[in-house]
């Protein structure tokens, strides 16, 4: 029971990633192929999840529609984690005015929801995946910076850091090889939560028409196009929504599971 979150999370995430990866080499139909005359067909052996208002195969579109979401998760988390961790490490290790400057900036940025960042990005770069990647990456920088800084502040006082300093090691080596590895579990838990939020952000922004543009598929975009047919053809809204919800649920459970595994003290549900 203890590892339930970890297992169910990994399985859900594994399935959704597998579906997307298979989508690169095989889909039952071409995801953008319209079939007038076969519009809004319910699930059947030919179209396992039915067809949308242009007769496109929903299963095929779900298989490729996860790409922008997972890409936002990977790119957003990798950039946010690298940049944020670096800033947080410098702030937490050196303290002083560096810390003040970095943290005030991080606090200001942290107050902005990623959707507002995305609106600014779209105003500048125009709608599209690039704006979303930029917004998700920038939104993640302050999150990782704050996390790393607070971990560094306590770890830098540890005796092994004093020992490393006494041995005359360079600051960069102390930061990278001695302190940072102690924060890795913390950062990995946050990475899975950030990944989940990035998937949700990409879906919301594509739903608003700010991300993936037609005719290409993205889970959020599919919901935008299907909303008008929700009553007539419920499968057009149920399956893309489920794809988003299951992916995000899986990632959140994975995060909770990792937290329980590494640090029971941090668990929100004792």
């Amino acid at each position: 029971m203890q590892k339930y979150n970890l297992w169910s999370g990994s399985i859900l995430v594994g399935i959704m990633v597998l579906i997307t990866v298979v989508g690169f080499v095989y889909t039952p139909e071409l995801p953008n192929k319209m079939d007038i005359g076969n519009q809004l067909q319910p699930p059947s052996p030919e179209h396992l999840l039915g067809t949308d208002n242009y007769g496109r195969d929903i299963l095929s579109r779900i298989m490729v529609g996860g790409r922008p979401a997972l890409e936002a998760g990977i790119v957003g988390v990798v950039i946010g984690l690298s940049l944020g961790t670096w800033l947080g490490a410098v702030a937490g290790y050196y303290r002083g005015w560096v810390e003040e400057v970095v943290m005030r900036l991080a606090d200001g940025l942290y107050a902005l929801p990623s959707i507002l960042l995305a609106l600014v990005a779209v105003t500048l770069l125009g709608p599209g995946q690039l704006s979303i990647l930029a917004a998700v990456a920038i939104a993640n920088v302050p999150i990782f910076a704050r996390l790393t800084r607070s971990a560094f502040i306590s770890i830098r006082e540890a005796e092994f850091v004093a020992a490393a300093k006494a041995m005359g090691l360079r600051d960069s080596r102390i930061i990278l090889r001695h302190i940072l590895p102690n924060c890795s579990s913390l950062l990995l838990v946050q990475a899975s939560v950030s990944f989940a939020n990035a998937v949700l952000a990409e879906a919301s922004l594509s739903y608003l028409g700010l991300g993936t543009q037609p005719p290409d598929a993205s889970w959020g975009r599919m919901l935008k196009e299907a909303q008008a047919f929700a009553g007539q053809a419920p499968w057009t809204v149920i399956f893309p929504g489920l794809a988003i919800a299951l992916t995000v649920l899986g990632l959140n459970r994975l995060g909770d599971g990792l937290r329980d595994l590494w640090d029971p003290k941090l668990s929100p549900h004792e």
């Binding site: 929801p113 507002l116 609106l119 105003t123 709608p127 739903y207 919901l223 929504g241 929100p268 549900h269």
Partner: protein, 314 residues
């Protein structure tokens, strides 16, 4: 003193926000006129738009005239919505949708958060169940999907609520209120989870305090101890979290207003961005930010009432 200090801090933040909204969109690379008309636009049209927007004047002069306009309640003219229509009128039309929506949604999540959080703090078993499932559910369901499903089930299916849009408050107040119920529920789910968690941990902490032991040992019923002694103290940290949640809430209205076709501030902001209507983007972003700042000031002013310790300090 406390209020005065908070008031000036609010004015200062508002001033910073005017600068941020103004300069973000004007200091950015590229020519705003070209951004609006596209790079292949006719040079004469570009020139005309530049002088219309005042872009041929020095930047500080532009900022000061924009700021003077803001102080007079004039946010410039939209360049897409029937050209020249004042931005302030568009925003004033949108606020009667967004403000009641935000208030209703905060009300729902506060009420649910306090009830569920109290139950969770008092009853351990139910507590971890509520916290775990509510937070996983609310963090995983995309708001717009939930909204679409609620429309199908409660509005189209059972006909309890109108599926989309909103009548004017003056024409049909009851209908307008009814139109906001589903959007408010959709909007409040993520915040309910956060508030439940906050109420629970704040209450659990308060219940360990000495004065609670005193209250119990003098024989007060558990209900009185929880509701009139512990909860008020726990609400201090809840009001802080509510302030932070407001920003998320305003951002959330952008999605929810789109799902329910509500002509509110979030939808106006989205349209402004998609149409590249810079004066309208600036106006909506500024008003959104100002709303958040003013409400945070009002919440700050509640602290001394909730927590007398704040009055004594400084």
């Amino acid at each position: 003193m406390y209020w005065l200090r908070k008031f000036f801090a609010m004015l200062l933040t508002l001033g910073l926000v005017t600068m941020a909204t103004f300069f973000t969109f004007y200091l950015l690379p590229g020519d705003p006129a070209a951004l609006i008309l596209g790079t292949e636009a006719d040079p004469e049209a570009l020139e005309l738009l530049r002088s219309q927007l005042g872009l041929d004047r020095p930047l500080l002069a532009q900022y000061s005239s924009w700021l003077q306009g803001v102080l007079r309640g004039d946010l410039g003219s939209s360049i897409t919505f029937s050209r020249g229509y004042p931005v302030s009128s568009l925003i004033l039309d949108a606020l009667p949708v967004t403000i009641p929506l935000a208030l209703l949604s905060i009300g729902i999540s506060l009420a649910l958060g306090v009830v569920l959080g109290t139950v969770a703090a008092v009853n351990r078993g139910a507590g971890s169940f509520i916290i775990q499932y509510l937070s996983q559910l609310s963090l995983s369901l995309p708001a717009f999907w939930l909204g679409i499903l609620l429309i199908q089930w409660l509005a189209v299916g059972l006909g309890w609520f109108p599926p989309s849009g909103i009548p004017r408050w003056s024409a049909d107040p009851a209908g307008a209120m009814l139109s906001l119920v589903l959007p408010a529920i959709t909007l409040s789910l993520p915040r309910t989870a956060v508030l439940t968690r906050t109420v629970r941990s704040a209450l659990q902490e308060t219940l360990r305090e000495d004065y609670i032991r005193t209250a119990r040992s003098k024989g007060l019923p558990e209900k009185t101890v929880i509701f009139s002694h512990a909860l008020r103290n726990a609400l201090v940290s809840v009001s802080t979290v509510t302030g932070i949640q407001l920003i998320q809430l305003i951002a959330g209205t952008i999605v929810v207003e789109q799902v329910f076709s509500l002509p509110g501030l979030g939808r106006l902001m989205l349209a402004a961005v998609l149409l590249r209507d810079l004066p309208l983007v600036q106006g909506t972003v500024f008003v959104g930010a100002a709303l958040i700042i003013v409400v945070n000031f009002l919440l700050d002013s509640l602290y001394p009432w909730l927590d007398p310790r704040v009055r004594v300090e400084r």
